[in-house]
Homo-oligomer: 335 residues x 2
């Protein structure tokens, strides 16, 4: 059972835990600051596969396998997998995970998908509908560039506001059995459209959605930024994060000293030339499921908000003059 | 709260109802046998919009608006919308529904999306996480042809095993408040891959998934096809339906006289030249939310299984030699 507090926050009534998690990443990511946190890194971004899309499926499979192994269970124990990705028709998830034989509920929240999948997993374990749920998401720089922008062979120059799509995946197992940390509250994001149309500045498109979810949650729970060790957004990057901080300040809430963003954490800004930071479903999935979960396990972090963000657009919608609405799903996690 | 019975079926513990529903459809559909069941039909398949994609968004919005109106509530009362469609990055749902301002959880189950959205709506209302949930899905013949096959202007000849993507949408409101019919059980589909690679024979690709879900459900609940007025699949069409019946027979279960398929119901096979029947997310969404719901309301039907089916592929996965896995999500509905 769960119940609502305030206007939009859902409080879980049972003790629902993240039992295990795993983050895997590609070559560029393994040259960044998180190399020692990832469960697996790959020097070959094709992972031995014949296409970038198949490589991305492999990322999902490897992350899921590692999370299952670390939980000490087998795929047959898992009642549902919530998964999704950026590729058309979510093919990384389908072809990555079908061999596990787990009932599958495809999710689409763009780069917020990992939080959406974890949120659904938490709600369904809380209700008793499932005992073990698996949440998985991924992205791959080359499959994303090919689909959303230009073939990498073209060598197009990237805009300074652009973010770098992470080659990586994350997986987490959620259950009522005692695990590393508890999911106590969740909030399902609204689609927020500030009429931003620049597909090279996704951070700006997503920041208003993050502000909406974070401010709604703080209001619903009568808590303040100071009550949390960390307010972690998905992949706003450097520009989007600045915008988020200023949007919150406008509403009288100062998150400056508590906020960080997976897109700012995953790469070394000075040395790795990623412009505005990391992005993609695999960004917050791999960062949350590796470094953040390890910090929750060690006690370095004990009370955090995880608000992944997504830009809900396609090349077709942009070509037809549509703006880029954003969304942000939020999870409150306590050690 | 809900609990599992048998291996995969989830039984809802509260009384969860479909409070209202609406099905809308395009010109070809309005020349078919269901014209008097649809809430709205449009002689202009562009619905006054400038692109097929925008027209498809409009279908979702119109279906959602009609369902909300029929429920006698307003969009502000609804706590979550589960929606999805066939277009890349689910843009019909995003651009169709964002103006409603309802928290949004994007779903991707290809043509099984309506059942997936209804199933998630039922589970979250059952758990107390939400009071009112909205499930929406759509497809549009022209947007689907352009994206998955050939531009319609090309005038390519269709294969006899091909199905015709329905221009239509359906929306349903699910809540704990007494409504038209109850959702008693749900079953989340598994990805079933029989290694079928013919993108012009989707029915055959999806039939094994429908068989898997229906047979699992009957076993879990110790019920027989005769216990139901109707076992309704999503959009297997004529060929896929034959295959489903024979797959079930192989397992000793005869569904022949209880089975029907939304893809066989929506068009007139003799007069409408649709080859193997209707398909697309909008097929079962519009059929279920119009004719089937009206039959449940009138008492003509009182105990049915609704097993929507989806083919989990993209043009890219097919070009890269992948097969077409299927999925089928199942809902047990009683008047």
């Amino acid at each position: 059972m769960s119940h609502r507090i305030g206007k939009r926050t859902i409080e879980l009534d049972r003790q629902i835990y993240i039992l295990s998690s795993a983050g895997v990443a590609g070559n560029k990511e393994s040259n960044g600051p998180l190399v020692n946190y990832f469960d697996e890194v790959y020097s070959d971004d094709l992972l031995g596969e014949k296409s970038w899309e198949k490589a991305e499926s492999r990322l999902q499979k490897n992350a899921a396998d590692a999370a299952i192994r670390k939980a000490g269970i087998s795929a047959e124990n898992i009642d549902v997998v919530f998964a999704g990705d950026l590729l058309n028709q979510c093919i990384s998830s389908v072809f990555g995970l079908y061999s596990l034989g787990i009932p599958f509920a495809g999710q689409y929240g763009a780069c917020s998908t990992m939080a959406q999948a974890m949120l659904m997993s938490a709600l369904l374990t809380d209700s008793g509908a499932v005992n073990y749920a698996l949440a998985v998401s991924s992205s791959h720089f080359c499959s994303a560039e090919r689909q959303f922008r230009l073939p990498i062979e073209y060598g197009g120059q990237r805009n300074l506001t652009s973010q770098w799509t992470v080659t990586g995946a994350g997986a987490a197992i959620i259950t009522g059995e005692k695990g590393i940390c508890r999911i106590e509250h969740v909030l399902i994001g609204r689609i927020i459209d500030m009429k931003i149309k620049d597909a090279n500045n996704m951070g700006a498109a997503m920041a208003p959605a993050a502000a909406d979810s974070i401010l709604s949650y703080l209001k619903d729970t009568s808590t303040k930024p100071e009550d949390y060790d960390l307010i972690l957004t998905g992949d706003l990057g450097f520009l989007g994060s600045e915008l988020l901080v200023s949007l919150c300040k406008k509403e009288g809430v100062d998150i400056t000293s508590h906020h960080n963003d997976c897109g700012m954490i995953i790469f070394d800004r000075e040395k790795q030339d990623v412009h505005a930071g990391g992005s993609g479903c695999g960004c917050c999935a791999s960062v949350f499921c590796s470094k953040i979960m390890q910090q929750l396990k060690s006690g370095e972090l004990s009370n955090i908000l995880f608000a992944a963000t997504g830009a809900l657009m396609s090349p077709t919608s942009s070509q037809q003059g549509e703006s880029i609405p954003g969304i942000s799903h939020l999870i409150h996690i306590r050690r």
